[in-house]
């Protein structure tokens, strides 16, 4: 495995700046002390004591903070199934015909056949990305239902153009909650016109112990991209030729201890091998376990070293900043930010339906600022809780976390559900009212340009007599009417998926960058 060397690379720049800044401050202080000594005592003034120990402690603390991966440790898994997210690249390049009829057709077919190969213990979720990523379904063991959804994924599913793999990976990782073998299967041509690379998504996946199995569609020769009756052209009016970026897909898999499989010119893959790769960490039978070596994150030794250095340095008297540094290093040594989460996840491995543990996991994740993961945990807790009060708490927390992410619709629904279970929850009432007020001030989306024809729905007399329902207030449906209405509604799962896919994050703005 040639995974990332650091568990928390996002801290690297900050740590380097702090350590470098501290070194400069120390040098400046030492130089100042020498000048003052020379001015007072002349050339025979003693050299000031080198303040090296605190600086070294700071370096050790910085190393601990970025989580160096040194060596390996053995991990044992007794899970009988894997949690798998199928992440579809639905960018325009996937409509290229070098895997006829198109890369996306072949990806969907491969996914369908892969679902048929997964076992009863596996749970699968669907996700897609183009200009942004979206998790379409939660993890489900109803593989047959998922297989029916797969053919509905097309290049218009996600509302924004582009190939933002990192966003797709981030959305897909939100599906994982329990501590089971996690596999992200990326079905893509790997092409990103913006060439953002795969380091960021690989690091993100590795950080949450997720292996990425990449299935590469397309060809190295490439193919033009259909654009209506013509071919897609770039700004210079040249025909765009899309090529499979096998190198990027292979690197993404390698960095996460996964595997890369390239489709042949017909878009076919060795799906038995893909399935075996997905099940690599799955115990063959109950009672057995699978062992594998994973990178060990060494935080404690460096934190301990920092602590020891500071203790040595402070034998002569504890200055304020050294005390602070000591406290910080002790905090890091005591278990770092995610130790509580890991403990809960370990507990959930044995008892995946423990709603209270899921609730605590959500709280820990929310406190860490990982809101998407927290929401998954809260949702799981609410679904599994048998105690209505516990479910209400999970839903309330879900609403609060959704508010943190400015997802007002989700927050509204969560608070509504929480109140349904615990009607006198004043906090939920207050938050719901606040959310509804916030939603009311939001500009409504434009109406659909082409409403779905609904010929089966009960329409009333026209041109006369006029229907009472159209004129007056709607009356509640009787159970029979409700049943009939449900029967008359066309079972169009594509609408639901599209609704999910069109949820564009507010941070995204229309881009002028190439978007295939």
């Amino acid at each position: 495995m040639t995974g990332p060397m650091l568990e928390y690379p996002q801290w690297l720049v900050t740590v380097a700046m702090v350590v470098g800044g501290a070194a400069l401050l120390l040098l400046a202080a030492r130089f100042g002390a020498r000048r003052r000594g020379a001015r007072l005592l002349g050339p025979r003034a003693p050299r000031p004591r080198a303040d090296l120990l605190p600086w070294l402690a700071l370096v050790a603390l910085g190393v601990a903070l970025v989580g160096p991966r040194i060596g390996t440790r053995v991990e044992r898994s007794s899970a009988l199934g894997a949690d798998v997210v199928l992440l579809f690249d639905t960018s325009r390049s996937m409509t290229a015909g070098d895997n006829p009829p198109s890369r996306l057709h072949r990806a969907r077919r491969a996914a369908g056949e892969l679902l048929a190969r997964l076992g009863a213990g596996d749970r699968v979720a669907l996700a897609a990305y183009s200009g942004h990523g979206v998790l379409l379904t939660p993890l489900s063991s109803d593989l047959r239902a998922l297989a029916e959804l797969v053919p509905l994924l097309d290049d218009s599913l996600v509302g924004t153009e582009g190939s933002d793999l990192a966003s797709g990976v981030q959305a897909a990782l939100g599906a994982f909650a329990a501590e089971r073998p996690r596999v992200l299967v990326v079905l893509s041509d790997g092409e990103d016109p913006l060439r953002r690379g795969v380091a960021a998504p690989a690091t993100e996946a590795a950080r949450v112990a997720t292996r990425v199995v990449t299935l590469g569609f397309g060809s190295e020769d490439g193919s033009r991209i259909p654009d209506g009756d013509a071919w897609l052209r770039d700004r210079r009016q040249r025909e765009v030729v899309s090529q499979r970026d096998a190198e990027a897909l292979a690197r993404l898999a390698e960095m996460t201890d996964g595997a890369f499989f390239a489709a042949d010119r017909w878009g076919e893959l060795d799906l038995d091998a893909v399935s075996a790769s997905i099940h690599r960490d799955v115990a063959p039978t109950a009672g057995e376990s699978v062992e594998r070596s994973v990178a060990a994150v060494r935080v404690a030794p460096f934190a301990a070293l920092a602590f020891a250095l500071l203790a040595l340095d402070t034998l002569g008297g504890l200055s304020r900043w050294r005390g602070l540094a000591l406290g910080a290093s002790a905090l890091v040594m005591l278990g770092s930010v995610s130790s509580e989460e890991r403990a809960i996840e370990a507990h959930l491995q044995a008892r995946p339906d423990d709603a209270r543990a899921l609730l605590h996991l959500g709280i820990a994740r929310a406190e860490r600022g990982s809101h998407a993961e927290a929401r998954r945990a809260f949702e799981a807790a609410a679904l599994r809780a048998r105690d209505p009060d516990l479910a209400a708490t999970a839903l309330y927390d879900l609403g609060v976390t959704a508010l943190e992410e400015r997802d007002l619709e989700c927050a509204r629904d969560a608070f509504f559900d929480a109140l349904a279970l615990r009607p006198r929850d004043r906090r939920a009432v207050y938050n719901l009212e606040w959310t509804l007020a916030a939603l009311a001030t939001r500009t409504p989306p434009p109406p659909s340009a082409r409403p779905r024809p609904d010929p089966d729905a009960e329409r009333q007399l026209q041109p006369e007599p006029q229907p009472a329902e159209a004129a007056g207030d709607p009356r509640p449906l009787t159970p029979e009417e409700a049943r009939r209405w449900l029967e008359s509604v066309e079972d169009d799962a594509r609408r639901g998926l599209r609704s999910m896919g069109q949820r564009v994050p507010s941070s995204l703005r229309p881009s002028r960058e190439p978007g295939w």
Binding site: R109, S219, D456, E458, L461, E464, P467, E487, S488, E490
Partner: protein, 271 residues
């Protein structure tokens, strides 16, 4: 063209006279309704028409549902109502006549009942009587691939292009058209149904064309990817259906098509 304004003027005159003379409807009923289901006996899945005739007294403008009609155990499709432009006289009273219509498809055998409904008619309410339909199961002897379609089916197919190179794909449409319950028809072409061809089925679409009659159109779309060169015969598709008039099962067939595959496409510039 001259006759239309004249007729309209005559109609207004008649109505004004009727209103003045007080003969527009009897004082006790501002509306009369009559429900009928045709035919009164049907098979499961067979289309029947439910018609509500509404006679309203001249001068009554406000007619609306108090209790809308319900069709439990049926799949119901709305049909445009009919409005008689001319007043009619029945039992010595002048009425304005209109019809409310539905196409119904019974979902199960047995004596199925369409409950009554209620209309607001001017200042009064009018009851709409229920109706009963005797629904019998389809007889034995159905073909193995019979999917429950009752009523005639027309099959149209289209292949485009019909000549491609190896590595390219062709689109194949199958359109079924008829007055029956065509939404019951599954994909007539299985994904592994053509030897040497990868078949990619898209989601079928069902459209209802509600006019004087109901016409159902069900469209299946496929992408065909041949895996070898030569002339690939697409066999004629068969759609079994039941003919209630002749009490017999029949087979609708679409024409056979041939997809010619020659040469190998060179990617990416495959033309």
């Amino acid at each position: 063209m001259v006759a239309a304004p004249a007729a309209r003027f005559a109609l207004v005159l008649v109505l004004a006279l009727e209103a003045a003379l007080g003969v527009a409807g009897d004082a006790g009923a501002q509306c009369r309704t009559q429900t009928r289901v045709e035919p009164a006996r049907a098979f499961v899945g067979q289309r029947v028409f439910w018609t509500l005739e509404i006679l309203r007294a001249v001068g009554v403008e406000n007619v609306e549902w108090l209790e809308a009609p319900r069709f439990p155990s049926f799949r119901a499709a709305w049909l445009p109502g009919r409005v008689d432009p001319h007043p009619i006289t029945r039992d010595g009273v002048v009425w304005r006549r209109s019809e409310e219509r539905r196409a119904l498809f019974a979902a199960r055998p047995g004596e199925l009942h369409v409950p009554g409904a209620k209309l607001r008619c001017g200042a009064e309410s009018a009851e709409v009587s229920g109706a009963t339909l005797e629904v019998t199961p389809l007889p034995d002897g159905a073909p193995q691939d019979f999917a429950g379609v009752v009523g005639p089916v027309r099959v149209v197919t289209r292949l485009e292009p019909d000549r491609i190179r190896l590595g390219e794909s062709a689109r194949f449409w199958v359109v079924l058209r008829g007055p029956g319950n065509l939404w019951a028809v599954p994909s007539p072409l299985a994904e592994d149904g053509l030897d040497g061809v990868d078949v990619f089925a898209e989601r079928p679409a069902t459209e209802l064309d509600a006019g004087d009659d109901l016409v159902v159109r069900r469209t299946f779309r496929y992408q065909l990817v041949p895996r070898r060169e030569g002339a690939l015969a697409l066999p004629p598709l068969r759609i079994p259906w039941y003919d209630p008039g002749a009490a017999a099962y029949r087979i609708a067939t679409g024409p056979a098509r041939t997809l010619t595959v020659g040469g190998t496409a060179t990617l990416p510039f495959d033309d």
